[in-house]
């Protein structure tokens, strides 16, 4: 059993929103970006990626449209919406608080 490099439950949405807040892109672009920026430490299951994208579209955080890539290939692009930006801010704050808390607890060495 190797190192578990799957993304913790619930954080995939946050990562997608973060990327889409920088620029609109397609599903493959998102998975590549997450892999690269995390220096291959995170790997996205494609199934959960698309499930997450479609769910967030339904929830109105992101929207999708069809557009040609630079290479001239038709692809579905995703872009963040105003609601999505608010959600990102909320989730980022939540994440920071959570990781700081968890970090503090783990750093403690005496009761």
């Amino acid at each position: 059993m190797g190192t578990d490099n799957s993304i913790p439950y619930g954080t995939l949405d946050l990562l997608i929103l973060k990327l889409l807040s920088l620029e609109p892109t397609h599903g493959w672009g998102i998975s590549e970006w997450i892999q690269k920026t995390s220096a291959d430490s995170l790997r996205v299951g494609q199934g959960s990626l698309y499930a997450s994208l479609h769910r967030m579209t339904r929830e109105g955080f992101i929207k999708s449209y069809w557009q040609d890539t630079d290479a001239g290939r038709r692809a579905r692009y995703y872009a963040i919406t105003a609601t999505g930006k608010k959600q990102l801010a909320r989730e980022t704050e939540h994440w920071t608080r959570l990781t700081r808390g968890v970090g503090l607890v783990l750093a403690a060495n005496a009761v």
Partner: protein, 867 residues
Amino acid sequence: MELRDLWYRVKTLTRLKQAERELTEEFAFHLDMERQKLMSQGFSEQQADEEARRRFGGLTRESQRARDSWGIGLMRDLASDVRHAFRQFGRRPAFTIAGTLTLAIGVGATVSLFSVVRGTLLRPLPVAHESELRVFWHPYDWRGTEYDYLRPRTKAFTQLAAFSINGYALGLEDQTVTTLASVVTAEIFDVLGAHPAIGRTFVTGDDRPGAEPKVVLGYRLWKNRFGGDSTIVGRTILLDNKSVTVTGVMPKGFYFPTPEVEMWRPLNLDPNDPQYRSGWLAIISRVKPGLSEKDVAADIRTMAADLGTQFVYPAAWDKTKNAGTQTLREYLQGNVRPALLLLLGAVVLLLLMACANVAALVLSRTADRQPEMILRTALGAGRGRLARQIVAESLALSTTSGVIGAVLAAVSFGVLVNSLPLRDGLNTTLTLDWSMFAVAIALAAVVGLFVSAAPVRSVLMGDLKGVGSERSAQGLRGHKRFHSAMVAAEMTLGVTLAAGALLLVRSVAHVYAQDTGFDPRGVVTLDVLSPRGMAPDARVAFINTLQERARSIPGITQAGFVSRLPVRDGGWQGTVPIESRPDIAAKDAPNSFFRFITPGYFKTMGIDIVKGRDFTDADRNGALEVAIISEQFAKKMFPGKDPLGQRVGGPEGRWRTIVGIAEETRLFQMVGENPFCMYLPTPQNLQYAQLVLVAKTTGDQGTAMTALRNVVRDVDKRAAVGRVIGMEDVVKVSMSDRLQLRFFLSLFAGLAILLGAIGVYGVVSYAVSRRKAEFGVRMALGASSSRVMREVAGNGLIPVASGVVVGVVASVLLSRFVATFLYGVTQRDVISIGGAAVALMLAGVLAVLIPGFRAGKTSPMEVLRSE
């Protein structure tokens, strides 16, 4: 958020094909990009392709996950389930139609009848705080004296009010229209808590002698006859040729005591009027707020005791005993309620039969699909999904039935209302409203869920084994048992329903065949409203002239007058002391109806004089005051003695000499004990002599009626004609409750037989279709077609017969619920129950033989080819 979410789902659902296409394209793009990346890293084309697919992780599963996130999974599955269900139904049309129609009939009948029950039994009456209103001592009639005596004595009730039990027909304006009025005391509207739409109602004193004549109009009459003119208040209108001031108009929807009453007039509580001392009123009052039933009961006991100190009551008429009150609703609906509840019970049985038919359909379909279900489970379909599909199927079937049932209910409602035993214009206030359609469909859906419960349970419990043994003897036996049970249940319900209906139908026939004592054939009747203020002599002359002119009309053989028609007009009655029976105390004196007649009456109606003589023109005012008594009166009150020449107390309190005994005649109702009757010559008491002209014609009744109308106008222009009706119709109307009940129950009996037959046919033909292969093989091996037919028939007829037997037993046990409606037949009437059994047996045999015959014609070749 919510709304957008829903919008997204709906949008996706409506463009499902496109969404699927886009999903495929999106995934293809992803795979392509991954492949290109891998190839650029040095993978071969084939390796890149495999690796990309591996990384993507199973196209089908992933696309399913993406689809699930559209949030339309359940809806889409349901849609496909329902489509699937309808395809399945299409494959077995006969059984589907049978199931749908039976449920539709059951639901339609239930909804229709429930609308009626709700409209009559559940809808609030047009009065304030209905439950506080009480009617005193029903069914006793009250006298004006008693009313005035009780008024100051009640403690538990607010003020009392009285009203006439019967409506009175009055000629309006030019006398061309008659309207029904209720005669009431001045405070009635206060007691009811009803306020006029315009004007005002009566004030204290309006019901006392010397009061100005007033009338309150009903909304319908005001709209129809006075064009809704609000200046009518304060004006006078002509009522029976007399000026009456309109004081107010009641609001729309108000009725009292029955919807056919269109106006209210104050009573005249005049101690000098002998009518003040005769019983013809009902007393109503309102319980004071905050009082318990105990307080009310105590007050009633006190009032009853008080009555005893003031009045002398005959034993049969004793108001000090049996004192009690009824709610207004009980009073008004007394007759309708048990009949309606009975019919509702019958409808529930009918619905049960329909459910049994549908359950048979759904259950046998599940059995039919066991192999399919097992296969699908093996291929990975969840049990939940399978259960959902069964539910979807029965819901599809039942909601379709519900819609058809709603249409049936809408179409049949009018017929139903008119054929129900509803009296007094109640039928005009009933409507079938839209919520009933929702109820119909919901009811059907509930039935659908109910009947799918068993197969769903077996699917969820994983009880799908036996695909291999499906055709084994054991599997068949299990099905056979189930089918037999269904057949027997159908028969039992059918016999029970039909037997109950037949018992009642036969009761009605008995009542109808009863001897009324008069011969209604060819007799026409007219209510004659004689001019007011006529001197007694002039009035006698008017009556005599009218009678003679009537007799001279061609085709009319006899004519006469009576104050109140038998079996229609209830009655004026009182106690009758007997001179030769001092042993009978005043309070035990017999009660008798009083009827004022002219000499032609008995001849016209074909009533024989059993003894003594008929009245003659010599029995005029001033002559010896005479009376003719009814047979029962003579027999019971003068046992072993000759009543002729004896004297009895007349309604005026003076002795009258008995000169004749008349044949017993039904007076009031067609069934029950017939009251005593005393006939008196009209000229000897004109004051109470309402006039109903009766004439016997050998020709056309319509022609005779027109001729008689003209004669009345001709004799005196101020006279008017009220109701005109043939005596045969009078009898029919008096029987209308029962006749209508009979119609409805005949319909039930017919439906019970039909549904039973459909159910049995469905189950048996299904069983036959399942064994088609077996029959084919056996016939190929040399079995004769008659042998196959005999076997099918035998298998079907045993449960049919046992179901009929159980039905007979159930009918005998259940018939006590209809006992109160029976007349002339016993609860265990052999003809009714036996007739139902025979009818269902015949229907069952037919329903078994048709599929049996078809089984016998199975073509072995065809079956073998299809195997």
